[in-house]
């Protein structure tokens, strides 16, 4: 098997990693906001439990739960393995994003809300114009960590037989070809390098003020 052929096969798998990455972000960000809203509101106790479970148990087991539980309990099995992965990843990452958002919001001094209040701004205007922009700056570093971790976490989808890149590489291993397994690292290093540059750029965009 030539170098080119191996690359082609691995890239095919890597496509799935990329789709899983993008879809997970697409769903987990708004879901994380909803979690955060509930966590900071009336459903605090329930959300604490949910977040404890999502962050405290292995993502691998959560993948199996999403794969088997809907079929076993409600007789509505999810057909596509890839869909299972997107659902499990999105819910799991929403828990992390929830806590990052909450940390960001709680780090904004109470005086900022009060200053808006005495200026006669509406609650919505305060959140949107005063709190939100400051939260974004505060959460870039922890949020960036999750963005990097998720790139690598996508390989976990192989445990429910989503043919992502790492799974594709192990197929070579069974044929006696070991190096593609290690070679996959290059793809992740390139992807994380791009992400790191992006995060640096983003931090730079918010460097115009301290606080």
């Amino acid at each position: 098997m030539s170098f080119g052929e191996v690359n082609l096969k691995l890239l095919e798998g890597f496509q799935l990693n990329c789709y899983l990455y993008i879809l997970t972000l697409l769903f987990s960000l708004p879901l994380g906001l909803i979690f955060c809203y509930l966590r900071m509101g009336k459903s605090k106790a329930i959300m604490q439990g949910v977040i404890w479970f999502l962050r405290g148990s292995p993502l691998m087991i959560q993948l199996f739960i999403v794969m088997y539980v809907p079929g076993l309990l409600f007789n509505i099995p999810i057909k596509s393995r890839f869909t299972v992965a997107v659902i499990a990843f999105s819910i799991n990452y929403a828990a992390y994003f929830c806590e990052i958002f909450r940390g960001g919001i709680e780090s904004i001094p109470k005086g900022q809300w009060e200053a808006g209040q005495v200026l006669g701004l509406s609650k919505w205007a305060i959140e949107r114009k005063i709190v939100f922009p400051q939260v974004v700056k505060k959460i870039i570093p922890p949020f960036g960590n999750e963005l990097l971790t998720l790139i690598k976490d996508t390989t976990l989808a192989r445990v429910i037989a989503v043919p992502e890149m790492l799974m594709a590489s192990t197929e070579f291993t069974t044929k006696g070809l070991i190096w593609p397994l290690f070679y996959t690292t290059v793809f992740f290093l390139i992807a994380t390098a791009f992400m790191t540059f992006f995060l640096k750029w983003l931090e730079g965009r918010f460097a115009y003020y301290e606080g």
């Binding site: 209040q117 005495v118 006669g120 003020y209 301290e210």
Partner: protein, 190 residues
């Protein structure tokens, strides 16, 4: 402004007990630490609700915080215009901030930050302006210029301070809020 029988406690702690006063000019609120000065000012401005009692006044009320609470992600001018889009640019010159219009608060000195906070409150053209410890975050040398600035404002200023000398400079009338008895005395009736 007329304030009658304000009571406020936090948990079991009485911060204010039966506070009443009336003023049509500047008023300094003095008293020892923990006496309830900040709490009283916050009640006047509607940032805190009293357990009982009433606050009556005509017009609008503004508030200058002890640590200013400027919005760090906005320039001086954005801080001023966020709530007052039609603010007069002359306000900056009046407060010696004309060269700082597009600076962020982190690049300003303490005195300049305070003037931005005052400009932000003035832009809404309040009738009453509350100051919490306006001298505490500043170089003592600036105290006089703050007093001058407060006296130049054509507003009823309510000033919380622990500096008696400063209180004399900015207000003819003083209100003493005492922690133990929470009694109020009027001095130098004006």
């Amino acid at each position: 402004m007329r304030v009658s029988n304000i009571c406020k406690s936090f948990g079991g702690n009485k911060a204010l007990e039966d506070v009443s006063f009336e003023t049509s000019g500047n008023l300094a609120i003095v008293g020892e630490s923990g006496g309830g000065k900040t709490t009283l000012l916050r009640i006047l401005a509607g940032l805190e609700t009293a357990d009982s009692g009433t606050v009556e006044y005509d017009g609008k009320i503004g508030f200058v915080f002890q640590d200013f609470n400027l919005f760090p992600h906005m320039t001086v001018w954005e801080n001023i215009t966020i709530a007052a889009p039609d603010a007069d640019i002359g306000l900056l010159a009046r407060l010696g901030l004309e060269s700082k219009k597009d600076e962020y608060p982190c690049n300003l000195s303490g005195g300049q930050r305070q003037r931005v906070a005052i400009a932000r409150a003035l832009a809404l053209d309040p009738d009453i302006l509350c100051f919490d410890e306006p001298t505490s975050a500043l170089d003592p040398l600036l105290t006089d210029s703050v007093a001058e600035l407060i006296n130049s404002l054509d507003k009823i200023c309510i000033i919380v301070t622990h500096d008696m000398e400063f209180a004399d400079k900015v207000a003819k009338k003083k209100l003493i809020v005492d922690a133990r008895s929470n009694a109020i005395y009027k001095r130098k009736g004006a």
